[in-house]
């Protein structure tokens, strides 16, 4: 069983929800990221999504765009993102790491070249924002052959037919984008999310993590009550951005926020 499948199974067995932070690799500096990942694990996260900076992040709002720009200014790349994951793995063999980014850096490495490198880095999942299932067969196959989970996005306007398609081609978990918009947008509607999740559940047995628009412990709790996991990105990166000259301060604030989210999510299983 893949590390992701095992993680979600263990969570489900104990009635808990996955807390999944997203940070951009190399932001604000490549030396920062591995330490940040370990600190987040200590704060109680279950899976880490590691963003690969890209020059043209069309699905991202301003906060993650700027994180990308900061990381690229330090020559961060997909290869170096895998190096960071590898470094993290040296002292953590439990926490699944999902690499999330855009297709062109993967194309530049070739699918096989990337899949081999991802396997060497002991990556657990790959989420490629601009690779829909229709174009993803070859890539998904090369990941699955190496026991890496290809993770797909679902959106509020995805039809049943498409949800089935993601269920077929995806593994690990599905990532439900809670709103029509870019990352960091602020108009998440929990009733809509709940209704859509019912539709999604009818068409897949994969765990569903929900992201986009989760900002604090309260939204995390609301969303955690609906899905199997909660993804939080821009709210964390805003902390990095607020303390560019003092990354330790940013790290502390991120740990603090994740800790309150962990408590909020765990209060769901207690009640």
């Amino acid at each position: 069983m893949s590390r992701l499948a095992a993680t979600f199974e263990a969570l489900a067995n104990s009635g808990r929800k996955a807390l999944i932070p997203f940070i951009t690799a190399g932001d604000p500096h490549p030396d920062f990221t591995v330490g940040m990942m370990h600190a987040m694990v200590e704060a109680g996260v279950d899976v880490i999504e590691l963003g690969v900076p890209f020059s043209d992040p069309v699905a991202d709002g301003p906060v993650i765009q700027r994180a990308s720009e900061r990381a690229l200014a330090h020559k961060m790349s997909l290869r170096r993102t895998l190096d960071i994951a590898s470094e993290f793995r040296k002292t953590n063999q439990q926490t699944p790491v999902v690499v999330m980014g855009y297709l062109n850096p993967i194309e530049a490495m070739t699918y096989e070249g990337f899949a081999n490198a991802a396997q060497r880095a002991d990556i657990d999942g790959v989420l490629t924002v601009d690779l829909p299932p229709e174009e993803a067969k070859e890539f998904s196959d090369s990941l699955k052959a190496r026991e890496i989970d290809p993770i797909f996005l679902l959106a509020p306007n995805s039809s049943d037919e498409r949800i089935k398609k993601m269920d077929e081609i995806g593994s690990g978990y599905l990532y439900y984008v809670s709103l029509k918009g870019v990352t960091g947008a602020g108009h998440l509607n929990s009733v809509d999310v709940e209704n859509k999740l019912q539709e999604i559940r009818k068409n897949t047995r994969l765990p569903v993590a929900i992201g986009f628009g989760v900002k604090d412990a309260e939204t995390a709790k609301t969303i955690g009550n609906i899905g199997d996991g909660v993804v939080i990105g821009s709210a964390l990166i805003s902390k990095i951005e607020a303390h560019l000259d003092e990354p330790e301060l940013a790290k502390n604030e991120i740990v603090e926020l994740l800790t309150t989210m962990r408590l909020a999510l765990d209060s769901l299983s207690a009640s």
Partner: protein
């Protein structure tokens, strides 16, 4: 060629190029657009409305003009200019915006967005939005806002909101990024009018089909005026819409050579250019697979061209296919050569071309002398140069 050219396939592939590479939220609107496009392109009423607009509003057909003096001066092939500069709003861009805006209306969309580089597509979009009473937002890199300020003013007069994009290289590709972000946020009421043969399927095929009127007219006009087909076609390539519009109706005419001219900026060898077909590699950007200016890590490289409309790191996927199959050739022209083309046409024929089109003129100056006097080149004069007066004056140290 015995089999008729029939690209793309139903999922938008030109061989390995094209396709649909967008985030999930954009899949339903892209599919909805494809369905509407398939339906209305076969709807006689839609076609009639579009044709009427192209005739009475745009002023089509545009002339095919024999540039006799220039041809004689160059001493080779006879040069014919397809006068897209004479269209309403001053370039070929309006052929496409009319088609897409009428489609938007049929689909019940009330808000139109567009990206623009030189501002010609932005102006053409703002124009048709004004005429149809649709809300219009145009994204434009802040570098382009500065160098094409006349067009920014035109768009504002036409009632459009112009958003200066400050991210990345602050040029056309960043304007496209921002328009895609707007679209994903406002998919329900918004129609994205892409200005070139880029983006996810069906855009490359749809924009081509709207622009192919250039080639259909030119083919017939050439037959009418000279009794034969041309020997060569020349057009500049930014995203590639004016070029594919001219080329497409000739693809099955094997004797007709096609030259798509890319912008070499300071020169290909300097790395400061906008010539993905000449010096790029295949990759994925803005919804399709094509040749791109991208580095070993797959990051998109900043481009350079004197002309804002060619300052783009990608190119329409059909051009990638025509290059690989050898059906078309893609030479390149530097900024300085383009300026020579600009002045030559202005002085020889009394026609001031856009800086984009000047790249096609400059290549024609190289090509024509290598051909016989009884041979024919059709050059796409994709736009007029009014918008570039400030850039030209500044280069020559003149304050306007």
């Amino acid at each position: 060629m015995t089999e008729k050219y029939n690209m793309p396939d139903e999922r938008g592939h030109f061989g390995p190029y094209g396709g649909i590479f967008v985030a999930e939220t954009l899949i339903p609107p892209v599919q909805e657009l494809d369905a509407a496009y398939q339906r209305y392109m076969n709807d006689p009423e839609f076609i009639a409305e579009m044709d009427a607009d192209l005739q009475h509003y745009v002023g089509r057909p545009s002339p095919l003009y024999h540039a006799e003096r220039w041809s004689n001066e160059l001493g080779g092939a006879q040069i014919y200019l397809k006068r897209e500069d004479l269209n309403h709003t001053g370039s070929h861009k309006i052929n496409n915006t009319i088609g897409q805006a009428l489609l938007a209306k049929r689909m019940g969309k009330t808000r139109i967005i567009a990206e623009t580089g030189a501002g010609q597509h932005g102006v053409a979009t703002a124009t048709i939005a004004a005429r149809l009473g649709l809300e219009c937002v145009v994204y434009m890199g802040s570098v382009d806002v500065a160098r094409q300020s006349l067009n920014v003013y035109r768009m504002k007069l036409l009632g459009a909101t112009v958003v200066a994009v400050e991210s990345g290289s602050k040029t056309l590709k960043d304007a496209l990024n921002e328009a895609l972000r707007d679209w994903v946020t406002n998919v329900d009421n918004t129609f994205y009018i892409i200005g070139t043969v880029a983006g996810p399927h069906p855009y490359p095929a749809m924009v081509r089909d709207f622009q192919a009127i250039i080639g259909r007219e030119a083919r017939q006009q050439c037959l009418d005026q000279t009794g034969r087909l041309p020997d060569a076609l020349v057009a500049c390539v930014g995203g590639g819409s004016n070029a594919i519009g001219l080329f497409h109706p000739f693809i099955d005419d094997a004797s007709v050579k096609m030259y798509g001219v890319e912008a070499a900026g300071d020169g290909i060898e300097t790395g400061r250019h906008s010539a993905p077909l000449s010096a790029g590699r295949p990759g994925v950007l803005h919804g399709n697979r094509t040749y791109l200016m991208s580095d070993d890590d797959g990051e998109i490289i900043e481009t350079h061209s004197i002309s804002a409309g060619l300052d783009y790191p990608g190119v329409g996927p059909e051009h990638a296919w025509l290059k690989d199959t050898g059906r078309a050739e893609y030479p390149n022209i530097t900024d300085n050569e383009a300026l020579e083309g600009f002045h030559a046409l202005t002085l020889m024929e009394g026609i001031i071309p856009a800086l984009e089109s000047s790249h096609a003129m400059a290549y024609t100056m190289k090509l024509a002398p290598t051909m016989r006097k009884d041979q024919i080149i059709i050059v796409n004069l994709s736009g007029r140069g009014d918008k570039d007066m400030q850039t030209m004056a500044r280069r020559e140290g003149i304050e306007l």
